[in-house]
């Protein structure tokens, strides 16, 4: 089956010489719920910009449902519904007009568009505001307006660039439910976020982007499994003994240092029990942060909402 999104060797250097994308490789299956996770400035919006032709790429190939943006741009774009990071509607235009016009740009007749506008405005709890100018909406409502707008041409793929940034927690949950429902109806969803929690709640597959490169691309389960494992460094009283612990991955670095990988389900008691049996004495123990954790720590420091994500590092 063709991928919903296939990006190969994508590079972008902005005018002025800044290289925002170094080499992006990404594949998203049809019907997937996919997270692109990364700190501010990682290149998430730039990647989406290239897919939607708001950013001219420097090098590489992008295919949307098999349509290469280099030679079938309009076809490629017709499959995408975009919810951008920044509000980008006419603030003076009433909601219904915004939606119906947007549908028109995709070739949807006015009559059909009015029916759909009603459907999505109701689903997203904006129906009461339909005749108000967009500037009269709250931040969360504006965000939902952009979701409704992106759905007007019933795209196969919905791309949301940090859809819940600045949206309070209740509305965020309602939005998550709505997206999950869309995904169950068969729409491929790609969302960027810098909250791991959000990706964890929603997504089946995940790519982590940092400094314009994909540093990790795996299933959500796989990633969480990796996160589950904690590495401890044990400082031992020097021993000639070859230490090994049943059921636990360990590495003896020298005569007084042992590293062990413990999953959250395993208990440290059995480790110490076995070490005692072997007459190995532990002087002290510390947590070794692995690459992934270090990455998340850096993500979280930059996201400015450390509290919400603290359970990830804990």
């Amino acid at each position: 089956m063709t991928y919903a999104l296939e990006i190969t060797g994508l590079k972008k250097t902005y005018k002025g010489g800044f290289q925002a994308l170094k080499n992006i490789e990404l594949k998203v299956k049809q019907g997937d719920f996919f997270a692109l996770l990364g700190p501010n400035g990682a290149g998430k919006s730039t990647t989406i910009g290239v897919m939607t032709s708001l950013v001219n790429k420097t090098e590489g190939q992008v295919k949307i449902y098999g349509h290469d943006i280099d030679n079938a741009l309009e076809l490629a774009k017709s499959h995408i519904g975009l919810v951008p990071q920044e509000f980008n509607f006419n603030q003076f235009e009433p909601l219904t007009n915004i939606l119906v016009n947007q549908a028109g740009y995709y070739g949807v007749e006015r009559k059909t568009a009015l029916i759909r506008a009603e459907k999505y405005l109701k689903q997203l709890e904006l129906w009461d505001k339909r005749d108000e100018p967009a500037r009269a909406l709250s931040g969360g409502m504006k965000r939902r307006l952009m979701i409704a707008r992106a759905l007007m041409h019933e795209p196969k793929m919905l791309i949301l660039d940090e859809p819940t940034a600045g949206v309070d927690i209740e509305i965020r949950r309602a939005m998550w439910d709505f997206l999950q429902q869309l995904n169950e109806e068969g729409i491929t969803i790609i969302l960027t976020t810098h909250y791991l929690e959000e990706a964890e709640m929603l997504c089946r597959n995940i790519a982590i982007i940092d400094g314009g490169e994909i540093v990790e691309n795996t299933t959500m389960k796989g990633l969480l499994a990796q996160l589950d494992i904690e590495t401890f460094v044990l400082d031992l009283v020097p021993t000639q003994h070859q230490v090994s612990i049943d059921g636990i991955v360990s590495r003896q670095l020298d005569d007084h240092t042992l590293e062990i990988d413990i999953s959250k389900h395993q208990s440290l008691n059995q480790v110490f029990a076995q070490l005692s049996l072997q007459n190995v004495e532990v002087k002290s123990m510390r947590n070794k942060s692995n690459r992934l954790e270090a990455l998340f720590v850096s993500l979280i420091n930059q996201s400015g909402s450390a509290k919400e994500n603290s359970k990830v590092v804990a």
Binding site: Y14, K15, G49, T52, S53, L54, V55, N56, L73, E74, L75, K77, S78, I80, L82, P84, E86, F87, N88, F89, N90, Q91, F92, E93, N97, I98, V100, N101, Q102, A103, G104, Y105, Y106, G107, V108, E109, R110, R149, H153
Partner: protein, 254 residues
């Protein structure tokens, strides 16, 4: 089919926009034209006497209508497209499968609608001051459509390059207004010294005003064929420039 719907959407949005703010878009030209009529027609015009074989007021009416068509077509597209850039709602079109020519045609069409509507309003106001005669209605229709298209394209190009609201008033103030006032609205070019007659021939507005006046009065300082050729060349050139700029994404895509 899809493109027709997209084009209709842009046009709809554009017309809606200037109708919604009619106090800013439709009323001022009507007031301006009244002032011109009072000052040049009734007060000064009587002392000037005839121009080109007609009383002064009748002579200037076509030029005054043309002036408002030019200004309004230009500023409609310049402000609408620039504000779409400013508020970023231009991205609504850019991310959709709308071909560039549809974007150009939609905005230019919107500018033409405003230009021609204002032209009609001004003509209607003029009827209170003078009898308007029609020599050739087709020349009138063709000139007003082509002229408004030319300046709508100009306004679009201006907006593409503009980085601030100031940038969309520079061209109207420093280029458009002088060219219009020197474009034979208020006088016949033949009154000028030979050198300035030559210079005037480089001013495209001279051709538009004269072709338009020909439609009403049957008189012109330039040949009508030349006039249409000049307007045609301007439209083709400006359309090509606008298309190239939008395809390259100047001021639109990073």
């Amino acid at each position: 089919m899809n493109n027709t719907i997209a084009l209709k959407s842009i046009l709809h949005k554009e017309v809606h926009r200037f109708m919604r703010i009619w106090v800013q878009t439709l009323v001022p030209p009507a007031i301006t034209i009244c002032l011109y009529f009072v000052i040049f027609g009734s007060l000064i015009g009587k002392r000037i006497g005839e121009m080109g074989g007609f009383d002064y007021m009748s002579f200037i009416v076509p030029g005054l209508i043309m002036m408002s068509v030019i200004t309004n077509s230009y500023s409609n597209v310049a402000s609408s497209f620039f504000s779409a850039k400013w508020q970023r709602n231009v991205e609504e079109m850019l991310v959709a499968p709308v071909p560039n020519w549809v974007i150009v045609a939609g905005y230019v069409g919107g500018g033409m609608c405003r230009g021609i509507l204002v032209g009609l309003i001004v003509t209607f106001v003029a009827l209170f001051f003078v009898d308007i005669q029609v020599h050739n209605i087709w020349v009138i229709i063709a000139t007003v459509s082509l002229t408004s298209a030319t300046f709508a394209l100009g306004g679009l190009i201006n907006a593409i390059f503009a980085g601030s609201f100031d940038d969309i008033s520079i061209i109207p103030t420093f280029v458009l207004t002088p060219l219009t006032y020197l474009g034979g609205v208020f006088y016949s070019i033949s009154l000028l010294p030979e050198f300035w007659q030559g210079v005037s021939q480089a001013n495209p507005i001279v051709y538009m005003v004269n072709a338009f006046r020909y439609g009403f009065l049957g008189i012109s300082d330039v040949s009508i064929v030349t006039a249409f050729a000049v307007i045609g060349i301007f439209i083709v050139t400006l359309f090509t420039i606008a298309m190239v700029l939008i395809s390259k994404g100047i001021g639109l895509r990073s």
